[in-house]
């Protein structure tokens, strides 16, 4: 297997869907794993607003049940990112990417801030419509090459995926949280509750790095 990922170190077969760990995807996987563990063991921050020109400050109280739900969504998002990092199948990658998008909305679903909710709503609309180019890309990959396995598509003699289909896939992933559509996510971070909300940013970064590898490999 040529490409930017390097040789697979380890292959985990689930029938036709083969997860492969190249040095590149393994690095991203470990990154997502470490952050998920941090989310599991850490306590959330307590956001404090300081009033300029005076010594007043406001501490934002967030209930335990809100935090539990946000942590659950952050862990689910971490698991989805891990899956998207190592999966060796285009359709499976599309599924994991859309799972990441839904989890991102879920992380901020409980925030009682109008601004954050508006941003999350806009992000949700873009993420939802992004599934159309994403899954269309995966479907056309299957139609033009006859297979969905990235390992098969990376073989030297394999049929190459047309450039426009790669663009479709990339546009689908961009809608799930790349610049410039990242702007809504950046507003979502204003929600209190780091490190859970940081998972939104991290998962975007990871799926962005992975889709580059996928597009350059197939």
């Amino acid at each position: 297997m040529i490409g930017i990922g390097g040789q697979p170190l380890f292959i985990l077969p689930f029938g036709d869907i083969v997860l492969y760990f190249t040095p590149f995807t393994l690095t991203l996987f470990i990154f997502a794993l470490v952050f998920t563990v941090l989310v599991i063991i850490s306590k959330p921050e307590r956001q404090i607003d300081i009033v300029f020109g005076g010594d007043a400050y406001l501490a934002k109280e967030i209930s335990i049940s809100d935090m539990k739900f946000r942590r659950f969504m952050a862990i689910a998002c971490g698991l989805a990112s891990m899956g998207a990092m190592v999966t060796g199948d285009i359709f499976d990658f599309a599924l994991f990417t859309s799972l990441v998008g839904i989890c991102n909305v879920g992380i901020v679903a409980a925030v009682k801030s109008r601004h954050v909710q508006n941003a999350a709503y806009q992000y949700g609309l873009v993420a939802m419509s992004a599934t159309v180019p994403l899954f269309a890309g995966a479907a056309i990959v299957a139609a033009t090459t006859g297979t969905l396995s990235i390992l098969q598509l990376a073989l030297p003699g394999a049929t190459k995926v047309p450039l426009l289909v790669k663009a479709l896939l990339t546009l689908g992933v961009m809608g799930e949280g790349m610049a410039p559509f990242y702007a809504a996510k950046a507003e979502m971070f204003r929600a209190p509750g780091a490190p859970y909300v940081i998972m939104c940013s991290l998962s975007s970064l990871l799926i962005f790095l992975r889709v580059i590898e996928v597009v350059l490999t197939v």
Binding site: A142, T147, A167
Partner: protein, 148 residues
């Protein structure tokens, strides 16, 4: 000047959906211009549609306890491919003999048709699909209960 105007437009998240729609439209136009794309005749999951079969459209062939002819990408990963798709429970078998529409009730009766490709060789897809549904349901029910 123009860059600051563009960045001001992009930084407002209310414009993002319009921006995304524009990007999709541009790509769609490009896509139509580059048609037709080549179709690969060598498909991994070929399917013949036999409308007279009672298991239509889920018929993938085979008789119970014998191996059906299933194409998979990695045969070494699915040593028992071909046994699942042929099996019907006695109830489903009777149903398929009574009515020509047993294939349309894939989830409506126990032990119906288990599509080999869907549930065995590409089982992880099915797991992730249901996970998406569960997560969406969890968010929806949480928001619903938050209001009360």
């Amino acid at each position: 000047m123009i860059i600051s105007r563009i960045s001001r437009f992009i930084s407002n998240f209310d414009n993002l959906l319009a921006l995304f729609a524009g990007a999709c439209a541009v790509l769609a136009v490009l896509f139509v211009l580059f048609l037709p794309l080549p179709y690969s005749e060598d498909q991994l999951y070929p399917k013949e549609i036999d409308e007279s079969s009672p298991l239509y459209p889920y018929e993938r062939g085979g008789t119970p306890f014998e191996r059906a002819d299933i194409h998979v990408q990695y045969p070494e990963n699915s040593p028992f491919a071909g046994y699942v798709t042929a099996y019907l429970t006695p109830f489903s078998l009777a149903l398929s003999r009574l009515t020509p529409h047993a294939g349309t009730t894939i989830v409506a009766h126990p032990g119906g048709i288990l599509d080999e490709i869907l549930y065995n060789t590409r089982g992880l897809d099915t797991v992730v699909e249901t996970t998406i549904l569960f997560i969406a349901f969890a968010i929806g029910s949480y928001l619903f209960r938050k209001g009360s």
